[in-house]
């Protein structure tokens, strides 16, 4: 039983990280039907910025939590700038092009950003400091869930609640929903669609960077390639939940994270990817629109 709980906790942690990244995929897809393949790279850049900032801050004598918060903040700002710029230079000029063109552009940006970090930094793994402190109150259940895991779960949950509130109640959130449902009509009620698209990229990048910082601190090392696999997994999670559907992305990510954790724990860690993608194949056969991606009844 304890082993099961331990695996569950590790599965939920993976799931939260996938969810943070998957939200960016699904939101962008929902609005402009583009799979932003460079999204995983934003997550990787977030982790790198946090690493660099935490190195600098350590030299100046900052300690644990304050570094985590400052480095996280700066990583988020950088990632937002990258996300915004990415859309502006790689996708906006292709807004009216056939759908394949921005997709190819996305793959190009992904390769470019990977190699840019590879050249500017290093091809090797870099150690990432453990920025998340150990809480005393977690001591009794530390063998099931550690402090770092708790922080990841709580941070992800708070981010997702904030996103939900933003989309449901704010002006920009309403504009995003309107744009997602009918872009032309959104323009006709006065929504500046270009701003909405930029904002969507910024929000997605912020969430991905939060994930990148948390993962770096949790796993303890990063390199230029971490965005690729995380991106593929998060994309899988988004498709699993029903691409374009926000609660679906979170659900898909949790299912994927737990599947991986159980497969790794009960069978072999060599098989975790097999099970993760196996679930995807099953869902796509049985429910091609994803877990929550149901077609809306609509009268014409």
């Amino acid at each position: 039983m304890e082993y099961f709980l331990e695996l569950s906790s590790s599965g939920l942690v993976r799931g939260s990280i996938y969810a943070l990244i998957a939200l960016g995929y699904t939101m962008v897809y929902g609005i402009i039907q583009l799979i932003n393949f460079a999204h995983g790279e934003i997550y990787m850049i977030g982790a790198f910025v946090a690493l660099i900032v935490s190195g600098v801050l350590t030299i100046y004598g900052f300690s644990g939590v304050s570094i985590l918060i400052l480095a996280g903040l700066i990583a988020v700002i950088y990632a937002a700038a990258y996300g915004y710029t990415l859309e502006k230079i790689a996708y906006r000029p292709l807004r009216n092009a056939p759908r394949l063109s921005p997709l190819i552009s996305a793959i190009g940006m992904s390769l470019f950003l990977q190699n840019y970090v590879l050249l500017a930094q290093t091809p090797d793994f870099l150690p990432f400091p453990a920025l998340i402190p150990d809480f005393d109150f977690m001591e009794p259940i530390a063998h099931i869930m550690g402090s770092a895991e708790l922080v990841i779960l709580v941070t992800s949950a708070v981010s997702m609640v904030a996103l939900t509130v933003l989309i449901k109640y704010t002006r920009i959130g309403k504009a995003m929903r309107a744009t997602q449902q009918d872009m032309t009509m959104a323009r006709l009620v006065g929504v500046n669609v270009d701003n909405v698209i930029s904002t969507t990229f910024i929000i997605g990048s912020v969430l991905a960077a939060i994930g990148g910082v948390l993962v770096g601190s949790y796993i303890g090392q990063i390199n230029f390639y971490i965005g690729f696999m995380a991106g593929v997994k998060a994309f899988t999670a988004a498709v699993l939940g029903g691409i374009g559907n926000i609660p679906g992305a979170v659900l898909g990510a949790m299912v994927l994270g737990l599947t991986e954790a159980y497969a790794a724990g009960y069978i072999s860690s060599a098989y975790e990817d097999v099970f993760a993608f196996g679930v995807l194949v099953l869902i796509l056969i049985l429910r091609p629109s994803g877990l929550l991606g149901k077609a809306v009844t609509q009268k014409v």
Partner: protein, 235 residues
Amino acid sequence: MLELRNVDTYYGNIQALKGISIDVNEGEIVTLIGANGAGKSTTLMTICGVTPPRSGEIYFKGTPIHKMPTDKIVAMGLVQVPEGRRIFPNMSVLENLEMGTFLRRDKSEIQKDIDYAFDLFPILAQRRSQMGGTLSGGEQQMLAISRALMARPQVLLLDEPSLGLAPLIIKQIFEIIKKINQEQKTTVFLVEQNANQALKLADRGYVMENGRITLTDTAENLLDNEQVREAYLGL
């Protein structure tokens, strides 16, 4: 109030509007009639900046708007009820109405306008929390018109409000358009295939064929015009 001068609009290499000129004066109801594919909807989308003209000018109250982005044009008071209604399917009736107020800053006045819309179309009040996508065609048309009114338009651009609706509902919708024109002093530019109904409602009319304006006159004269009667009224 609204002037189009030699407007050309293209979709890629295909020219949809060929040098059209239209005038709509304040307080009027002007209709644009024509067959399928004549370019009527394109005319409205061009006015709203969704498919901007390649050449020619469009003026609204003397201001050139042919190079403005859509949201700026809407902010000036040119509001369209597009063909096919385009209700936001996963928003409630109330949320759809609220989207119509997107550019408004006078939050306190909005409730009054929502009440006015519910007064015009009582069925919408009953359905206020129902999702837009689940409404019937007639209800969606009523919601689309109400949503446009929420923006307090100076010119209301209507694209085939009668399309696919039962005759009784069409009658009701046309009566409301008249009412909006009279009560709110809203200028109306109405695009229709249903030429008979549209000309009975309008003050003046334009006839469009293959992207060109071929005829313009008072609505009364157009109703009596031999060509129009044959081609569009089936008489």
